[in-house]
Symmetry: C2
Subunit: 408 residues, 2 copies
């Protein structure tokens, strides 16, 4: 095998960027063998300097140095955020350089357009690390599940919220307490909104849905609900039901309609995703001939994410001049109104069963009682009911303490 030198430029020397450098150094020999090329980091773009770090000699502050160097064939974008990443990546692709990115905001917002440019230039725009960190999911969806029509993708896509929910469940602690602990440990950011409100999971399920259904799913269209209203009492009920509460990003085809949503779900302990705990992610895919498969691993972290980025670099190196990505058209997929999606709901009301049952039966018909966990409360699970209808009926319950969607 002839080994050629292949130069890459890395945009951003933060957590993932330094991980990419570390992975390329650590497994240099085997990576070069698999890529069929000697992969050389020629430049690292960062606003900062890193005196004393061997990377310093490769640091540039001006993107044009990288963009205009014809020897650079692959750009690794690990800066995060839509801008300037979008401008940089677009220019790179237009200049005929393949791009590998871990940037979910960029892919969710501009994936279809960037894939289109890469295709027209016979190069590649790859983004395995943008969903599920180190878990191989983009490539399997693209290349392995091609005999199937995907009917459902459901994932635990955010490690921070999964860590919080797991700890609340195991230790009986309140949300705020666990969030603080997660922040102290560096698992949650000081401004945790993107995680706990479900925005991060929303971008990821948008990317997965676009790939699964071959059309652009706009994340702004996806109904998104975070975990801030989940309490330690809800966790007690879940345990009594032999269930877990997880934050799901989910996308389902029902007849010819696609529904997508991010929200906490109460799921049976028998569900393949119920065992996905702590900072781990899991992605469950159901195909019309394959049945159910599940992918599990670390959804974030320096080295797992860098491993996925570098695997994309290897793939890009093996396919210089050949576009390998699949169909994700610019055409917008109109998601169906979530109000029509049918769901069961777990509901907690203040006051005991006797005080509530007449009203509950009037609104929901027969319901399934849940074992009493807290005195002076009545909890039940509805039958399947459309989201819109539930919302309207819920507004008639002035004493509702919480409600969580139920997946069993």
């Amino acid at each position: 095998m002839v080994i050629n030198m292949l130069n890459i430029g890395v945009l951003g020397y933060g957590t993932v960027g330094s991980g990419v450098v570390e992975v390329l150094n650590t497994n240099q020999e085997s990576i070069n063998k698999k890529a069929g090329n000697e992969i050389n980091i020629k430049y690292v773009l960062d606003l900062r300097d890193f005196p004393g770090d061997p990377i310093q000699e490769k640091i540039v502050h001006d993107y044009d140095v990288i963009l205009n160097d014809p020897d650079v064939q692959i750009i690794v974008e690990v800066m995060g955020g839509v801008e300037p990443a979008y401008t940089f990546v677009k220019k790179a692709l237009q200049a005929g350089k393949s791009v590998c990115t871990s940037n979910k905001e960029l892919v969710a917002k501009h994936g279809a357009e960037l894939l289109e440019i890469a295709k027209s230039k016979h190069i590649n725009f790859l983004f395995e690390a943008s969903v599920g960190g180190g878990i191989p999911i983009i490539r399997p969806l693209n290349q392995s599940l091609t005999a199937d029509e995907i009917e459902e993708i459901t994932g635990i896509l955010n490690g921070t919220t999964n860590y919080i929910l797991t700890k609340m469940s195991k230790e009986g602690l309140a949300f705020d307490e666990v969030l603080k602990d997660a922040q102290d440990k560096g698992y949650a950011e000081r401004n945790p909104e993107a995680d706990v409100e479900g925005y991060d999971a929303c971008r990821k399920i948008a990317i997965l849905s676009s790939l699964a259904f071959g059309m652009q799913v706009d994340y702004e269209d996806i109904y998104t609900e975070g975990i801030t209203k989940i309490t330690d009492v809800d966790m007690k009920y879940a345990k009594a039901l032999n269930a877990s509460i997880k934050l799901f990003g989910t996308s389902k085809k029902v007849n010819d309609e696609v529904f997508a949503m991010v929200s906490p779900m109460m799921i049976s302990e028998e569900h393949p995703l119920a065992g996905v705990n702590d900072v781990f992610n899991g992605i469950f895919v159901s195909g019309n001939v394959l049945g159910d498969v599940m992918f599990y691993g670390r959804g974030a972290g320096k080295l797992p994410t860098a491993s996925a980025v570098v695997a994309d670099v290897v793939d890009a190196a093996k396919h210089l001049g050949t576009n390998i990505m699949t169909i994700w058209s610019n055409k917008k997929l109109e998601l169906s109104d979530i109000k029509k999606a049918k769901q069961k709901f777990f509901v907690r009301l203040s006051g005991d069963k006797n005080m509530n049952i007449a009203k509950v039966n009037e609104l929901f018909g027969a319901v399934t009682d849940v074992e009493e966990v807290i005195a002076g409360e009545y909890a039940f699970i509805t039958g399947e009911i459309a989201e819109g209808e539930f919302a309207q009926k819920q507004s008639e319950l002035t004493n509702m303490l919480n409600r969580i969607r139920v997946g069993f």
Copy 2:
């Protein structure tokens, strides 16, 4: 996109073969779109005729008809067994036709040679369905985990034995009873040896190990122990330990040595594979930068297996004239002597603790007692000990009832 007709020949119209036909019919439109070709089944080779079945008009009894037809570009081999599959596949590849197979015996025995021929002919030999049925594992190992050095692959690779062990555990039944039930349900064959003695799992871990370490691992070299000695009493102890007993195929790199083995393992309920129950398979991979990932799904069955075969056909169709498979050299990987592998063991002796403890301490030093589940027995877990040393010490225990390797 220009759609050309691409003719394939299917060898064998048994369970998987008829599944391949069904999957291609069911998802015809989306498959053709992804393949960039209209995939047409031109021939089906079978010794039998199928009067009344629309397939009958494509049935041929003579392989040479398919082999000598220059219009056939891809051969699907789903006959199973080493011969005549090996002869047919080799001839196909030599004639420049890509081959997609579900045949684990063929791949384990002749994979390296057949990959080599495919490479020299710029065509493809693909075998996603040979391990884990519908679970994408071969392609992820080949194309997604390329930034890593694989340190361990461990799988629940046989659905029949996993069904049996799950049912023994859940219902407290004896092995023979559950085997009979599995046979009645069609989950186990009348001659169940290949499954229950671990031979099937052994071929699969040989294939995975060859791919992970890039060299030929001969399945004959892999120490293999089945599940026939696992009893309902062992299951009771496992439960008391908050553990499961699973049949593992495992392959581990320790320093520069590779150990491989098929054997029942007692694992903690926290292990990602502990939740893999019934006929499901799970494959756990650990990489030096990625950490742990796990793949889960149906390891067998007509449609899941056919889904994987057809995904290979799509890939072969997209890569006519380009070899995409990776490095699995003909060079034999010398596995290290399993006697040197270190392991903990769960051991049951007849007689109570007082009768046994002196001898046990003399042989194994300090051990961890296991809660009494059956009166008149003493059960304990050893510290880490080399397999060879354990075997030798075990021979001094005349009253041993069972011993199971422990993975926690």
